[in-house]
Amino acid sequence: MEKVEELAEALKAVEDELNLAKRVYLAFPFIFWSFAIPFMYLLELTLIKYAGLESDYVSVTISLLFVAWFLIENTRVFRKVEAIERVLGRRRERKLSYAVSQVLAWFVAFFIASYLYGTGGKGMLLFVGLALLLMVAVDLSFHRRVQSEMVLAGFIILSSTYLADKLPVQEMAFAIMVISSAFSFAAFLHIRRAMRE
């Protein structure tokens, strides 16, 4: 009996470590975009200024390249999370409708934001903030769970639209700073919660 108790304790310790690793992996999208968004913006400005490239062309190309990079990296992360969950005895169900809904959330947010505010700083804030909240709604309807870090990031970004044209900083630069800080904050909360659980 004592041996079984020891085994149970050891298994619990292993599962705790795996849960921690999983949570850290789940913070990956926030960490990626918190570095990528300011970097993309600065790269775009530099290329327009010194390479004489057309603004729209540079913006679309850089965005597509970073989205492709993110998808590659995130697929690797997702595979790790899936493997950890399998070992923890929680097999994740792959649903095409879930993936489609998540992508749709970004498209819907993009159309609403560009319709209301165009593609400036305010539009960017509304686009990202709304997309995050729509993704939370998708998660809630499919998995009955709420990622509080994502809700918080979404609200911080959405509420910042009010300040976008009121501060002595260029609107787009303000939007980039807000999104990047909100994402870093979400990643910080994610990892901190993982350490406490």
């Binding site: 079984v4 085994l7 149970a8 298994l11 292993v14 470590e17 795996l18 690793a21 999983k22 992996y25 690797r76 790790k80 493997a83 950890i84 399998r86 070992v87 923890l88 005895g89």
Partner: protein
């Protein structure tokens, strides 16, 4: 029933505690180096090499060399390794629950 399940685990490629620890260590990483693995699990290079060869033969891990300042041996868990680990952990949970 419990003894039967434990025997089933002991007969599997991850039936040895050191091999189970190696697989668990690799699960949360994409890959690791031989040196890092030996250090983390407090194993001598000879001992680790012995267990890795057994795991490689069973298709649980993949090892390959990468080049930096000097050649380094990398180790990663295979898809079969994840399956076996899932099975081993399931058996352990069942043993604890007394199924």
């Amino acid at each position: 029933m419990r003894a039967e399940r434990l025997r089933e685990l002991a007969d599997s490629p991850l039936g040895n505690p050191t091999r189970l620890a190696i697989a668990l260590y690799l699960l949360s990483r994409e890959r690791t180096t031989f040196i890092e693995l030996a250090r983390a699990l407090k194993l001598t290079p000879g001992n680790l090499d012995f267990h890795l060869k057994a795991l490689e033969r069973a298709g649980i891990v993949k090892t390959y060399y990468g080049f930096g300042k000097r050649p380094r041996k990398f180790v990663e868990l295979s898809e079969r390794g994840i399956d076996e680990l899932e099975r081993a952990m399931r058996i352990l949970r069942e043993v604890i629950r007394g199924d």
